[in-house]
Subunit: 272 residues, 2 copies
Amino acid sequence: MDIRPIGVFDSGLGGLSAVRQLKALLPGEDIVYFGDTARVPYGTRSPETIERYARQDCRFLLDRGVKCIIAACGTVSSVATAALTDLPIPAIGVVAPTGDAALAATHSGRIGLLGTTNTVRSGAFHRYLAQKNPDVQVFAQACPLFVSLVESGWIGQDNEATVAVARRYLRPLIEQQVDTVILGCTHFPLLAPVIRDILGEGVTLIDSGAACAARCRDLLTGMDALNGRDVGGQCSFFVSDHPHDFEAVASMFLGSPVGDNIQQIDPESLVL
Amino acid sequence: MDIRPIGVFDSGLGGLSAVRQLKALLPGEDIVYFGDTARVPYGTRSPETIERYARQDCRFLLDRGVKCIIAACGTVSSVATAALTDLPIPAIGVVAPTGDAALAATHSGRIGLLGTTNTVRSGAFHRYLAQKNPDVQVFAQACPLFVSLVESGWIGQDNEATVAVARRYLRPLIEQQVDTVILGCTHFPLLAPVIRDILGEGVTLIDSGAACAARCRDLLTGMDALNGRDVGGQCSFFVSDHPHDFEAVASMFLGSPVGDNIQQIDPESLVL
């Protein structure tokens, strides 16, 4: 038994969609979340910069005494895996759990991947899936506008602009007749209703946050490191900047009010 | 006469659209450009963070020996004006020159403003225009998705998604019957053809980069600080990160190839 909290980080607030899944699955666990809102988005930065940021983010969570780390960030998990491998505690990226969930779901072996530009370009999901099952075909689509749509709150199925953007991104996946689509960015589950409308019910959507939360439960169970409680887990939120509309956007991702347990830290205090 | 270069900075590469205008107007002047690509975008950050970044950006240009600074960034010019006021050389933000150009263009006194969320929220254009002419009415629309559309290269008039997003943003301005629209972000001139299609020829678009370039020419002329050449100005480009697709995106904003005179600096070297 291990009463320490679970650490979760993301480049911004999107990772709260993984916290939402984690709270649903492990409601007794304490969670420390760090959103690097002063330096978001990571998806458009160079791999060297992303890795430096990821190491600093892990350092911050280690200093908070966490028992494991979820990098709830498709970009970090794809581009900066080295930052997650040489830590004194286990770390979970999104690629392996999400890839495994997609492999379990597909019948046709034709899998679509939606992600940020860097996640797609990195080829990390391709490599993982090919290594697990060389017969699988992966069709990737970078969807940078999805991030802005979600952050604008334009997530409704009646929003013509959102539907037009989604149609354009999804057209190649429809042409390739995929039966499973990975939502490889924490923002994308909020667009799941729009995406499902366009792809149809025959396509399974894989939520990376849900896959990470399930992997975390399995990992802690296997290590006998759950905290033994079924209710009452507390969440602490740290951010490196406190943008306007913070509460509204954060609560949208979390699926419930974030409350006032939020601390802003100085981004220049993030070091190795 | 002053042979020192003109300094221009922006949170990213968008400011190169102002450099494009500056080169057209003052082809003999040397220009030093700094794009803070490691920390882009500024538009979603807190005012305190934006001001700190703007001061560091000015410091960087001062250390390069520039004779004046253009803050080709709607966000900095709206939110962090203090950073531009206590410098040993003149600095030009986008608000005053762009506001003056809009006032000169409007007949009806009904002016639209398109900008990032922070530019609009700051009210800087409203305050400037109201102070210059209390009878003018300003109708503002935050357009965060325009930035992503431009950076995705989705700028064509035949792009259904772009047109759908633009229609949604422009609808309130059409309803308000504006006759002049300020493109209050360096990215937006690239969407001018789409915006003009929707608004019609009766509406004048004001390009903030062009307005800044004209103001810079007037300022240097008045100070007798032009370098006396009509051709052969050199541009040096500095960025704090060197993202993939850098050349393509930079050349799109600049309107010509950026060439190889680009240096990447360490963002952690940006200090006050």
